[in-house]
């Protein structure tokens, strides 16, 4: 990854939101949000539905542009990038996990996961090799050629996670990753996210589930489009960097 090339850039925050607002017509989905996420963090963005957390995800994932404010992803000012460049940024920097898994029916897990690098310019053989590695990493080495209908919900989500982390992106955005799962499968998925975090990936979990949020090192609460509480910012005036990132 390019960010590892120079020592000076390694402590660059993965996500920086400054004064970010998003309005749809008259409705403000997100108001004046400030957030810094450092490399190696694991945090939850928690809030009830309609609180603006999905808008935050879309903006952090560069799927949507803010009405106001600055967004920096891995040091890139999103506003200065074209749609093409944002696509390339997503391809190389951001992994997505969705509540509905988004696995194509009839496609074996290995190929679904390999598609995670389809737009990275890497050859197919390499994509498939990495996909197999990623599937083994999420504990699905025995499900390489299974199709979605042959997998349980938890397994599907693990396939989706494998696809998201295939290219080792600095940022993993998980949108309600346990929303469609029973609590046991959900726990496995959360455990997996912890493992990825321990291995160095920055993981952002968007959830409405406070219990899950409480198990994560940092918790950002969103309500009515505002950031209400940020556990990682307690006493940030002296310690700018959250502890997890200092590791």
């Amino acid at each position: 990854m390019t960010w590892q090339a120079t020592g000076a850039t390694t402590d660059r925050p993965v996500v920086e939101l400054a004064g970010v607002s998003k309005t749809y017509g008259d409705v403000a989905a997100l108001r004046d949000a400030d957030l810094v996420i450092r490399r190696g963090e694991l945090l939850a963005i928690v809030g009830p539905s309609g609180s603006g957390k999905s808008t935050m995800l879309n903006i952090m994932g560069t799927l949507d542009r803010p009405t106001q404010g600055t967004v920096r992803i891995d040091g890139h000012d999103a506003a200065s990038l074209s749609d093409r460049e944002l696509s390339a940024l997503r391809a190389g920097t951001i992994g997505f996990v969705f509540q509905q898994f988004h696995l194509a029916s009839g496609v074996p897990a290995l190929d679904s996961v390999a598609d995670g690098l389809l737009y990275s310019g890497r050859p197919r053989g390499e994509r498939r090799r990495l996909a197999e590695k990623a599937l083994r990493r999420v504990g699905l080495g025995h499900r390489l050629y299974h199709q979605p209908h042959q997998l349980s919900g938890g397994e599907k989500q693990r396939v989706a996670i494998a696809r998201a982390v295939l290219g080792d992106p600095p940022l993993l955005l998980a949108d309600e990753p346990t929303g469609a799962l029973d609590s046991r499968s959900g726990a496995v998925v959360i455990e997996l996210l912890h493992e990825l975090h321990e291995a160095g990936t920055t993981v952002v979990v968007i959830t409405h589930d406070r219990d899950i949020a409480a198990t994560l090192p940092r918790e950002v609460r969103v309500k009515d489009g505002r950031l209400e509480h940020d556990s990682g910012r307690a006493g940030t005036s002296t310690s700018l960097v959250p502890e997890e990132a200092v590791r």
Binding site: W3, A91, G116
Partner: protein, 416 residues
């Protein structure tokens, strides 16, 4: 707020140089094809039906072109076998409108020309022919009785199917050779000393039967008798009414231009010179209008097929919004989404095009073998067929592809 500002300023100081701008990677063609095909694989029935629409259009066009080419090829081969160097001289009308006649010596004069391979003639008589002497006089059946020179088969390419042709000996006696239509009307199925027809008031022995002659179809309904016997018994005046000339292949046009003047030097304008192979080709060529109409119908079918592909693609884009959203999230640019759906439309119609070409070849082959023709489908028609489907597919896929590419990723992902 102030805390974050401070952070940003510190960050700015720590990282003075901005990171390199991200650049989208190009997809290699194999991946483009694979992604385009993946959308088709998941809906085989729909793909089959919309490809069928295209295939029918292409098959219709290939079939029309193939059948008309096969028919032309058949004609060419037949003409090749019959020879295109036959020229016919017939008397035209005289200046005052009477029927003119060719001089009796015209056959010899033509035979003396350079570049003439062979020459022969017939002379129509006013005699009538009947099955037997009891047949009512008015039942002539439209048959012609003509005097024929013994060298006629060589110039017109007449073939004897039974018996033999007139020769120097029997052309002095009441002997006749029948064209196939004449034989049918007279109820004659074979030649032989005991087979007779009632001609000019006496019995003539049928010594031979002719095969159908495409170059000179008038012979088919003719009863041919010897020149001498016609003059002696049937009141024939000895003037040829049709002279058949075979010219050297390379000199056919030259011979044709002077043939009239040679046959009748005194009044060349009273002769008509024609080339039967040209007339035959022209007759077959009159089918062109029908071919054009059928080709147009094939084009309409192709257009309808194209609309079918467009419809399939529009639906496909609507159904696959979340897939589009996912691909955008995975890093696909708008261009790559557009390419994907365009590739899908092109693959879909190429599939139909190939199927249509095969179907068209099958139709041509079936019809040609039914007609006993050689089966020919020109390469340009096949290439054109596939090319046309690609154009149609590109047009049909363009709008849906643009729509797919314009779909905002968040909106695409919002649909479940």
């Amino acid at each position: 707020m102030s805390a974050t500002n401070t952070i940003r300023e510190l960050e700015g100081a720590a990282n003075p140089e901005p990171p390199r701008r991200p650049k989208p990677a190009r997809m290699n063609p194999a991946d483009v094809l694979r992604v385009g095909g993946s959308g088709l694989r998941s809906r085989p029935m729909r793909v089959f039906l919309s490809a069928l629409g295209i295939a029918i259009g292409i098959a219709a066009m290939i079939g029309v072109v193939g059948i008309s080419t096969s028919s032309t090829e058949d004609l060419n081969r037949r003409l090749q076998a019959m020879g295109t160097n036959l020229l016919t001289v017939t008397p035209g009308q005289s200046f005052v409108g009477d029927a003119a006649h060719l001089p009796a010596e015209s056959v010899e004069m033509i035979g003396n020309m350079d570049d003439v391979e062979s020459v022969s003639a017939i002379g129509k008589t006013s005699a009538k022919v009947y099955r037997n002497d009891h047949t009512p006089k008015q039942e002539t059946g439209g048959l012609t009785v003509a005097a024929a020179r013994t060298d006629l088969p060589k110039s017109v390419g007449a073939e004897i199917v039974d018996g033999r042709w007139l020769n120097a000996a029997n052309s002095r006696y009441p002997a006749a050779v029948l064209g196939p239509k004449a034989a049918e009307q007279l109820g004659v199925h074979r030649a032989g000393p005991d087979v007779k027809v009632w001609l000019g008031g006496r019995w003539y022995t049928v010594v031979g039967l002719l095969a159908a002659n495409e170059l000179v179809p008038s012979l088919d309904s003719s009863v041919l008798v010897g020149w001498t016997v016609a003059e002696k018994e049937l009141g024939f005046d000895g003037y040829p009414t049709a002279i058949y000339t075979r010219a050297e292949e390379a000199a056919v046009n030259d011979v044709q231009s002077v043939l009239g003047a040679t046959a009748n030097p005194e009044t060349p304008s009273e002769t008509t010179v024609s080339r039967p192979s040209d007339a035959l080709a022209a007759k077959e060529a009159t089918d062109d209008a029908l071919s054009g109409l059928l080709l147009g119908l094939g084009g309409v079918a192709l257009l309808v097929g194209g609309v079918g592909v467009a419809n399939t693609m529009v639906i496909s884009v609507l159904e696959r919004r979340s897939e589009i959203g996912l691909r955008r999230a995975l890093g696909a640019t708008r261009g790559q989404i557009r390419t994907q759906f365009l590739a899908e439309a092109l693959l879909l119609s190429a599939l139909g095009g190939l199927g249509g070409v095969l179907l068209g070849i099958a139709v041509t082959g079936g019809y040609a073998s039914y007609q006993g023709w050689p089966s020919v489908v020109p390469l340009w028609a096949m290439a054109g067929g596939v090319g046309a489907t690609l154009v149609i597919g590109g047009l049909a896929g363009f709008y849906p592809a643009v729509r797919a590419a314009r779909l905002p990723p968040t909106e695409a992902l919002a649909t479940t």
